[in-house]
Structures are given as structure tokens and as C-alpha cells.
């Protein structure tokens, strides 16, 4: 047990150590030493996690560090919870993070602030580990906020560009809006259950009746937190903008790990969600809508990272759809496979960008499959995976979700299939425009260094074979991941796919056939494209609307940002400068003015003084007379 405690403490300690060492010595470290150190430390974390994972047999282990907040009846310890869920998250977080750290050595090699970059990346890893390891909501919240801050810092890493800073702030503020829900949910849960530790909360909640208002409120509020972090409608506009950060950041934070924190949180609280079918419905439809939103917008993006960003939004929608139908393990499965292939896609895109000297517009790419061979191959694997082509990992995870969705609501299923087709369309559009055809840019493409391609290959392998983690029964698998997670998240136990094998096969075949057809359609559209797309202005209305991201940013700007800014300025110029201060000043001035007026009575004229005295006296006498 002591060994487990120690290991569990060491896992987050490694990246924290990295942050401190690299942070304090950031002026002395070169790219290679800083990156190497950061990578090694995270890799160490991964190894330690692996040791923990291998020694884990389904028990829940609490690692107590110290008592954090103690007030009255509130006891909030600083504790880690080592169980199947957190271990699984830790494993793929440290794993992917290690790969991306390594990749960054190459990618960020020439940046003057590379050491700062690695320090922040390590800090992010630390925060993410806290998030998943926390044994109560509040410790999770430390990580939750920590990853938000790191995300802010890393999005605005290139701080000289005002748009990047704006993007960073936008990301943080939107996350904060979600946090409002998170904080309120925690307050509610605490006051309801007297504790925030997951285990007792879930135990006590399990005794409550379904659709209890407390549970519904709590789950909705938690979901609000999740929408912020995981870029669901309505708090999603920050994620595409977050692509302002360096590409490894996009890969690690805005694709593989942080954005899935919302999913993690829902799985963690699966007991609560199971008790709140209303919330589940909402989650489902929000997920489906987000999936569609991301997929549609992805069709018209020309920035390679933006396409991937909307793809991420769309995939996160899938995950939440899974949450909505109670398919927690399927969701987690998709989280995992998505981490692989989306990280791969981003890193591939980064490799392309690197190859083209910073060019991100796919209209200025093309024909790169010959010059950047490794990148192309790995990117292809990832694209196939995300499109859901069997037997790549994406097929299994996505199909599992869709099957559950079909069971819950055929409409949701249909929409998800449609989204899957769109996914295939925009991904292959991206692939074709980037790697096929002829090169339309002016740079001299070259393959990235080995330190960048090795992670690509590793991730490609994982994307390809990741499906083995949770092979469904109909393929002879035993749903390993589901059985692994069942010990940690009680909600998983409730998920059961009651479809007949034939139905399952049918659904899979249908979706696969549709996707393949879509790919073919994409080939016809973009496969041999040599010219550029027209400007959005030339498109029909709906297309234009979609290309402009459904005008969501503009809508928010009109609804929130501008009114807020207006209000802020005018509350000051009106409320403060014209009311509050003038009232204070005016009171004084009124008194002075009154004084100036009264002073005129003291006019120096003795007759008047006499008159004043006598009149005053007569009046006083009159008052006395009349008041009797």
C-alpha cells in the first residue's frame, strides 16, 4: 500500500518537478535539454503509472496527502483516488503527453522561449493528472482550473499577436463560465451530502430516488462545467480559436486530454447521471447537436488546424452523446481512441506546417504525400481511423456509441451517422487537398526530423490497433475496457446493449458503407483538385452560414461581448462618473452652495440683524403659543 501511495504521489510529482526545474532555469536550458528533461519526466510518469496499472486489481485506493480545507463540518482532504478510471486516464494522458513532449522537441526547436514552453507543458500535464487523480470534486477542480490556466498560457504562447491573446482569454473565460456550473454543483453536492469525496457522494446518491431535483440540478450544473471544458454547445467557440497555440499544444490539450475532462467528469459522476434521465436526454441532444455542428463547419474550413479543431468538437459531441445514452465505457473508449488519432492528426498537421515553414492554409498545400512520406502515411491511418473504417480504432469506438444511440433513439443514431459521413467528407477533403494533387504553395516541403516522426509512428500504430481495447462481443471480444472501468464507475454497470447481433452487424455495415461512399464522393470532389475553393461570399446562403460557423461567434459578440463592453464603459461613464461621484461631490457642493446662500443673510446690516432677531423671536413665541 505504501508503495502505491508513493507511486501515486510520484506520478504528478514528475511533471511538477519538470515545471519547477525548467521554469526556474529557463534561461539556461536549450531546446534539447529542456525538452529532453520534460519528456523524460513525463515518460517516467508514464512508466510509474504503468507500474501502478499493472499492480491494480480493481480496487479503489485513496492516497491521503494532507487535510486541505477544514471548516466546521467541512472536511476536504487533499487526496488522490487510484482506481480503474483514474488509472486509465493517467495512462493515456502520460503516454500521449510523453509522445507529444518528445515531438515538441523537434517542433519548438527554434523558438526562443522553448524552455518556458516545456515548463508550461509539464505544468499542464501535472494539472491534468491532478484532475483525473483527485478523489474529490475539489481536488479535481484544482486540476480542472489548472489545465484551464495552462491552456490560456499556451494558447497565448506567442504573446506578441493580439489575436492569440484574445483567443487565450476567450478560452479561459468560456471555461470559467462552465466553472460557474462546476462550483455551484460542488456547493450543492457538498451541502446535500456533507462531503465531496467521490465514493461517499456516489454511495449516498445511489440511495436517492431517480429524478430527484437535487440530482437533476447537480448533474445539469456539472454538465455546464463539462460543456465549457469540452467545448460543447453553447460554450464551444473557444476551441477553434485555441488553435492559435503551437500545434503540440493543440494536439495535447485541445484534442487528446483537456477537452475530454468533461467526459471524464461525467463518467466519474455516472451514478448521478444514471439517476437523472432528464439530464441524460439533454446531454444526448447537446452531444448530437455539437457533433453535427462541428462536422458541418469542418467542411468549409481552409486552415488545416481549424478543420481538425472542428473535427474535435464533433468527436466530443459523439462522446457526450455516448454519455447521454449511458454508454460510459463506450464514451471512454472513444476518448481513448480519439486521443490517439486526433493527437496523431494534429501532430501530422504540425509536421506539415513545419514542413511548409508555418503555412496552415490547405489551399496552399497539395501533393505532399511524396515529400513528407511518413507524415502522409500516418495521417492517412489517422484519417481512416476517424472516419471509422474497420478495423481501425475509430471504427470500434464510434460504432459502439452509435449502437447505444440507436438503442436509445433512432433519430440520434441517424444524425450521428450523418455526422460520421460528414466527418469522412471533411477529413478526406483535408487529406486530399493536403497530400494529393499538386503543390500549390511556394515553400520547399521537407520531411520532419525523426524526433517528430517517431511519435507519429507510435500514435499511428495505436490508432490502428487501439480498437483491441474494447472489442465487442459480436467480434469475439470481451469488452476489456468496459470491464476494466466497471470497478470504478458504477454507471458503467448499467450500460447494456440489448440489440441483437444482426442489428448490430446491420448498423455497422450501414455506417461503414455510407462512410465509404462518402469517401468516394470526397475523392471525386477533391481528389485531383488543383484549383482553389471560391470565397465564401460566392456560396449559397446555407453554405455561407455554415462556412461562417453558423455565425456563432458573431452571435456571441452581439449578444455578450459588445453589450458587456458597452455596459462596462457606460457603467463607468454614467454610473460612476455621472452619478456616484457627482452625488458625493454634489452633496458637498450643495452644502457649500447652501452655505454661500445662508451667508448672504449675514449681510452686515445691523437693522437686518435686529430684524432677524426680532422676527425669530416673534416666530418662536408664535410657535410656543400655537403648540400649547
Amino acid at each position: 500500500m505504501v508503495r502505491t501511495d508513493l507511486l501515486a504521489m510520484l506520478v504528478p510529482a514528475m511533471p511538477l518537478l519538470g515545471t519547477l526545474i525548467i521554469g526556474f532555469g529557463r534561461r539556461k536550458f536549450t531546446a534539447n535539454t529542456a525538452g529532453g528533461l520534460a519528456t523524460v519526466l513525463v515518460a517516467l510518469s508514464f512508466v510509474l503509472t504503468l507500474v501502478l496499472f499493472l499492480g491494480h486489481h480493481g480496487e479503489r485506493h485513496i492516497v491521503h496527502l494532507f487535510n486541505w480545507i477544514t471548516v466546521g463540518e467541512m472536511q476536504i482532504p487533499f487526496t488522490f483516488q487510484i482506481d480503474a478510471l483514474s488509472l486509465w486516464m493517467m495512462l493515456f494522458i502520460t503516454g500521449v503527453a510523453a509522445l507529444i513532449h518528445g515531438y515538441s522537441i523537434g517542433y519548438m526547436h527554434d523558438d526562443p522561449r522553448v524552455a518556458t514552453f516545456f515548463a508550461q507543458l509539464n505544468l499542464f500535464t501535472f494539472a491534468m493528472l491532478l484532475l483525473v487523480m483527485g478523489s474529490n470534486f475539489l481536488v479535481t477542480f484544482i486540476g480542472w482550473e489548472g489545465v484551464g490556466l495552462c491552456s490560456y498560457l499556451l494558447i497565448g504562447f506567442w504573446y506578441k499577436t493580439p489575436e492569440f491573446n484574445y483567443a487565450g482569454r476567450k478560452a479561459f473565460v468560456m471555461n470559467r463560465i462552465g466553472d460557474v456550473g462546476m462550483v455551484l454543483a460542488m456547493a450543492l453536492l457538498f451541502l446535500q451530502f456533507g462531503t465531496l469525496n467521490y465514493a461517499p457522494v456516489m454511495d449516498k446518491a445511489g440511495l436517492m430516488a431517480p429524478n430527484n431535483p437535487v440530482v437533476i440540478t447537480a448533474t445539469l450544473l456539472l454538465f455546464l462545467g463539462a460543456t465549457g471544458k469540452s467545448a460543447q454547445i453553447p460554450l464551444l467557440t473557444w476551441l477553434p480559436d485555441a488553435m492559435a497555440g503551437p500545434t503540440p499544444v493543440s494536439a495535447l490539450i485541445h484534442a487528446a486530454t483537456m477537452v475530454t475532462a468533461g467526459v471524464f467528469l461525467v463518467v466519474r459522476s455516472s451514478v448521478l447521471y444514471e439517476l437523472a434521465p432528464y439530464t441524460q436526454q439533454i446531454v444526448l441532444w447537446v452531444g448530437v447537436a455539437t457533433a453535427l455542428f462541428g462536422a458541418t463547419v469542418g467542411l468549409f474550413q481552409n486552415d488545416i488546424k481549424k478543420v481538425l479543431a472542428y473535427s474535435t468538437v464533433s468527436q466530443l459531441g459523439y462522446m457526450f452523446a455516448a454519455m447521454g445514452v449511458g454508454a460510459y465505457s463506450a464514451g471512454m473508449f472513444h476518448v481513448t481512441t480519439h486521443a490517439f488519432f486526433k493527437a496523431l492528426l494534429f501532430l501530422g498537421a504540425g509536421s506539415v506546417i513545419h514542413a511548409l515553414g508555418g503555412e496552415q492554409d490547405i489551399r496552399k498545400m497539395g501533393g505532399l504525400k511524396n515529400t513528407t512520406r511518413t507524415t502522409y502515411v500516418t495521417f492517412l491511418v489517422a484519417t481512416l481511423a476517424i472516419a471509422g473504417i474497420p478495423p481501425l480504432s475509430g471504427f470500434f469506438s464510434k460504432d459502439s456509441i452509435m449502437a447505444h444511440a440507436f438503442q436509445e433513439s433512432p433519430l440520434a443514431y441517424a444524425l450521428l451517422v450523418f455526422a460520421a459521413m460528414l466527418t469522412a467528407l471533411y477529413m478526406f477533403r483535408l487529406l486530399f487537398l493536403t497530400f494529393f494533387g499538386t503543390y500549390r504553395g511556394k515553400a520547399h516541403p521537407h520531411e520532419s526530423p525523426r524526433v517528430m516522426t517517431v511519435p507519429l509512428v507510435v500514435l499511428a500504430v495505436l490508432s490502428a490497433v487501439g480498437g483491441v481495447l474494447n472489442i465487442p462481443h459480436i467480434f469475439g471480444g470481451n469488452e476489456w475496457l468496459k470491464h476494466h472501468l466497471i470497478t470504478a464507475a458504477d454507471g458503467v454497470a448499467n450500460e447494456d446493449l440489448a440489440l441483437s447481433a444482426a442489428t448490430e452487424y446491420g448498423l455497422m455495415a450501414l455506417s461503414t458503407i455510407l462512410v465509404v461512399l462518402t469517401i468516394w464522393y470526397a475523392w471525386t470532389l477533391y481528389g485531383k483538385k488543383t484549383t482553389l475553393d471560391g470565397e465564401p461570399a460566392d456560396m449559397p446562403f446555407l453554405k455561407r452560414l455554415i462556412a461562417k460557423r453558423w455565425m456563432l461567434d458573431e452571435l456571441y459578440a452581439y449578444l455578450f461581448e459588445r453589450p458587456f463592453s458597452w455596459l462596462s464603459r457606460h457603467l463607468f461613464t454614467l454610473g460612476e462618473a455621472k452619478v456616484a461621484v457627482p452625488v458625493t461631490v454634489g452633496t458637498g457642493e450643495a452644502a457649500q452652495g447652501f452655505g454661500e446662500w445662508l451667508r448672504k443673510l449675514q449681510n452686515g446690516n445691523t437693522s437686518f440683524y435686529l430684524f432677524g432677531m426680532m422676527l425669530g423671536m416673534v416666530l418662536l413665541l408664535l410657535i410656543t403659543l400655537l403648540s400649547a
Binding site: 458637498g588 452644502a591 457649500q592 447652501f594 452655505g595 454661500e596 445662508l598 451667508r599 449675514q602 452686515g604 445691523t606 437686518f608 440683524y609 435686529l610 432677524g612 432677531m613 426680532m614 422676527l615 425669530g616 423671536m617 418662536l620 413665541l621 410657535i623 410656543t624 403659543l625 403648540s627 400649547a628
Partner: protein, 461 residues
């Protein structure tokens, strides 16, 4: 009684010294005499004077007020040698008149008969009319003198009318009989109310209660500063003492308390609000004096209606308040004279500029004295105001008190405006010539104000 005689004789002696041209020893003689009078007063704490039966009674408060007035007069006289240094004529008369006025003050603090009140009032006033006109070549001084005289005489006439009305009821001028009459005739009686009111208003004139305050700013400004000091301190003490004795002996019917409350409101308002706009320091002090009178009247108000055993507390408060106020005022007027001389006779508040740089200690003294007038803690002024708070709240005058609180705030404003000048640098270099004696008096006033602020039970009252 012996103190009365001593001071009267002292006045005559000083007059004689003047005739013989011994200007230098005027102040020392007067001061020594006054100290002796203080000693006599203090020793005569409980001595019964059969001769004074029915006219005067030197009880604890009367003695206290007497000692206070004499002590402040000593301070004023200590200021005298420097103030009159360049004056050749009639210096002895100035001292003598102030001594005579002090006799009037003592009478007002100790009367038990309305005749003595009237005589005390006049003995107090008549020298002042003359003193106010002490700068004979100055039109302002003469104007102040005449205004004071005219307005004061009319106030006397009103007071006399009141005494006559009261006499018509009781057939006596004895305050004790008046009180007995009032106790026996509880029913509202307009004649009585009017009589009381007239007397009160006559006294209110001396204290500067609105609407009988008009003389104050003009006279304060026009009179020589030393006389202004005397008026602002000793005369105010005497007026308040007389006022207190009248109210405490008779006890005001409730109807009159309401009228007095109106006066309190008006006085606080007018005094403080006009003071906001004052740039002439002497006028500012006049208006501030009016506002302090408002607070004093508020304290007096709590003594209405025969509140048993309450009178001593009110009297103690009034004595403490007026005495500490007088200390602060004396110090400030001395500082004002110093600054005025340094600025070629200018009287606006700006003359204090540069004091901090030239005379840091005096600036600190001035600050302490101003803060005392403003009623900031650890100064006597604060304790004084707090006592008024306690009295007013205890008597249930909550709303009047709240108004007073607001007005006290305005008061702080104008004192602070003066304090601000103390620490501002002067536009051109100013040299403040400070006579050692003045320095000592200012220091003494400051220390006394602070000591009384920290140990308020020192007076033993």
C-alpha cells in the same frame, strides 16, 4: 465672594497702574491676582456665604466655571504683553475691562436671583462693548463695537421683559421660588412660557444661538484678536453657565424644550453650513463657535423637565465642553495672531501656509487644537462631543442628535481645511516671529487639550 471682590479690586488696581504708566507690570499683576482668585475660589469650595443668600450661590459648578473662566483669562493675559507690545494707550483699561467682564461672568455662573443674572449679564457685556471697539482708529473695530452694543442691548430688553413676566407670576426674582411656582402649577401657562422664553433668548444671544447669532461673526472679526479670544472663551463660558443655571434651576416645560430643539437645529445648521464658505479665520471661528453653541444648547436641552439628578451631569459636560473649547480657541487665536503678523495683517486661512516648515511644533499644536475643535478622538473636543452625544441620546433626542452628527461632519470639514493649510508650503518664504510666552501658552493649551482628551475625568466633576 472673596474672589469676586478680589477681581473687582484687581481691576481697579490695574486701572491705577495704568494711570501711573506701569505698562510692563500690568499683566503680571493681573495674572498673579487672578491666580490668587483661583486659589480663593478653589478653597471656597463648600463655604457658605450668608451674605449672598438669595442672590448668589457658589456651588461646585459655579466654582468650577469660575475657576475655568479665571484660568482662561490668565491664558489670555499671558498673551497680552505680546499683543499689546506696540500699543501705548489704554492698555491698563483693556486689562481692567476684561477683569470687570470676568466679574460679570462669575456672577452669571453663580446667581440664584434674576436680578443678579441681569446685573451679571450687564457687567459682562458693557466692558465688552468697549473692548470690541478697542482699535480706535479702525472702522471695523468701531463697527463691531456698535453692532455688539445695539444688538446686545435689545437682547437685554427682551430678557428684562421676560423677567417682568415671570415676576408677574411669582412676585419674586428668586429662581428657587420660580421653580417652586412651576412645580406647583404644572398646567401649561403661556405667561410662564413666554417669560422663560424671553429670558432664555436673552441668554441665547450671548451664546450666539440662531437667530440671535448675527453679531458673532462681525464682532469676532472686527474686535481686536485678544478681545475676540476673550469673547470666544470666557464670555461663552459665562453665557453657558448662566444659561445652565437658569435651565437647571427652573427646568423647562416640555413645550419650550421643543422650541429649544428647533433652535438647536437652526444653530447647528447655520453655524456649520456658513462656516463651510468662510475664508476669514476669525469669522470661521465665529461660525464654528455658533455651531459649538448648538451642541451646548443640545446638552442644555437634556436638562429640561426637572430630570432629577441629571443636572450635575449636564453642568459637568457644559463646563468640560466650554473649558476645553476655550483652551483650543485661545491657542488657535494666538497662532492666528502670529500668522497674521507674518502675513502683513492678512486674516484669511491661507496665512497658516508654511507653518509646518517654519515651526513644526506649532503646526502640530495647531493641528491638535483644530482636531480638538473638530472632535477627533484623543483630544478633549472629542470627549466633549461624546458627552453631549451621551446626554442627548440618554434624554431621547435621537433625531436631533443624528442631525448634530451630520453637522459635526461639516464642522470637521472646515477645520480640516484650515489644518490642510498648515502643512502646505507657503508661496513665498514667511518668517513666523514667535514670542516665547506665546509659544508656551500654545503648548500649554495643546497639552491641556490632549491631556483632558486622554484623561477626561481629570477635572473631577
Amino acid at each position: 465672594m472673596s474672589a469676586l471682590v478680589l477681581i473687582s479690586v484687581l481691576g481697579v488696581a490695574v486701572l491705577y497702574l495704568g494711570i501711573f504708566g506701569r505698562k510692563v507690570i500690568l499683566a503680571p499683576v493681573a495674572i498673579i491676582g487672578l491666580l490668587a482668585a483661583i486659589a480663593l475660589l478653589a478653597s471656597g469650595w463648600h463655604i457658605h456665604h450668608p451674605l449672598l443668600e438669595g442672590m448668589l450661590r457658589f456651588d461646585r459648578l459655579a466654582t468650577g466655571f469660575g475657576i475655568g473662566m479665571a484660568a482662561i483669562t490668565v491664558l489670555v493675559f499671558l498673551f497680552g504683553p505680546d499683543y499689546y507690545a506696540r500699543k501705548e494707550w489704554h492698555v491698563a483699561e483693556q486689562y481692567a475691562l476684561m477683569l470687570f467682564s470676568l466679574v460679570g461672568g462669575l456672577l452669571m455662573a453663580s446667581y440664584t436671583n434674576l436680578l443678579m443674572l441681569f446685573l451679571g449679564y450687564e457687567v459682562l457685556s458693557i466692558p465688552l462693548y468697549v473692548l470690541a471697539g478697542g482699535k480706535k482708529r479702525s472702522l471695523r473695530s468701531s463697527e463691531a463695537s456698535l453692532k455688539y452694543f445695539l444688538l446686545g442691548s435689545f437682547a437685554t430688553a427682551f430678557m428684562l421683559m421676560g423677567i417682568a413676566l415671570l415676576y408677574s407670576l411669582t412676585g419674586s426674582f428668586d429662581t428657587g421660588k420660580l421653580a417652586a411656582y412651576m412645580a406647583a402649577h404644572a398646567a401649561p401657562n403661556m405667561m410662564l412660557n413666554f417669560g422663560l422664553l424671553f429670558v432664555v433668548l436673552g441668554l441665547a444671544f450671548k451664546a450666539g444661538i440662531v437667530p440671535f447669532h448675527f453679531w458673532k461673526p462681525d464682532v469676532y472679526q472686527g474686535a481686536p484678536t485678544l478681545v475676540t479670544t476673550f469673547m470666544a472663551t470666557v464670555v461663552l463660558m459665562a453665557a453657558i453657565a448662566g444659561f445652565y443655571r437658569f435651565i437647571d434651576a427652573t427646568g423647562m416645560p416640555h413645550a419650550l424644550a421643543t422650541v429649544l430643539a428647533l433652535l438647536v437645529l437652526a444653530t447647528l445648521l447655520v453655524g456649520n453650513v456658513i462656516a463651510l464658505r468662510q475664508t476669514n479665520f476669525k469669522r470661521l471661528m465665529a461660525y464654528s463657535s455658533i455651531s459649538h453653541s448648538g451642541f451646548l444648547l443640545l446638552a442644555l436641552l437634556t436638562d429640561t423637565g426637572f430630570a432629577e439628578g441629571h443636572g450635575a451631569a449636564v453642568g459637568g459636560t457644559l463646563l468640560y465642553y466650554t473649558f476645553t473649547y476655550s483652551l483650543a480657541t485661545t491657542g488657535l487665536f494666538i497662532l492666528f495672531t502670529i500668522a497674521k503678523r507674518a502675513n502683513q495683517g492678512a486674516e484669511h486661512n491661507g496665512i497658516f501656509k508654511g507653518l509646518w516648515h517654519a515651526q513644526p511644533w506649532l503646526a502640530l499644536c495647531a493641528l491638535a487644537l483644530l482636531l480638538s475643535l473638530a472632535g477627533i478622538p484623543l483630544t478633549a473636543g472629542f470627549i466633549a462631543k461624546y458627552q453631549v452625544f451621551l446626554l442627548a441620546i440618554g434624554a431621547g433626542w435621537l433625531k436631533v442628535m443624528l442631525f448634530g452628527v451630520l453637522m459635526a461632519l461639516l464642522g470637521i470639514y472646515y477645520y480640516i481645511m484650515v489644518a490642510r493649510e498648515l502643512f502646505a508650503p507657503a508661496e513665498q518664504p514667511v518668517t513666523f516671529a514667535v514670542a516665547p510666552l506665546n509659544w508656551a501658552v500654545v503648548t500649554l493649551c495643546t497639552l491641556a487639550v490632549l491631556a483632558l482628551g486622554v484623561w477626561p475625568h481629570l477635572p473631577g466633576l
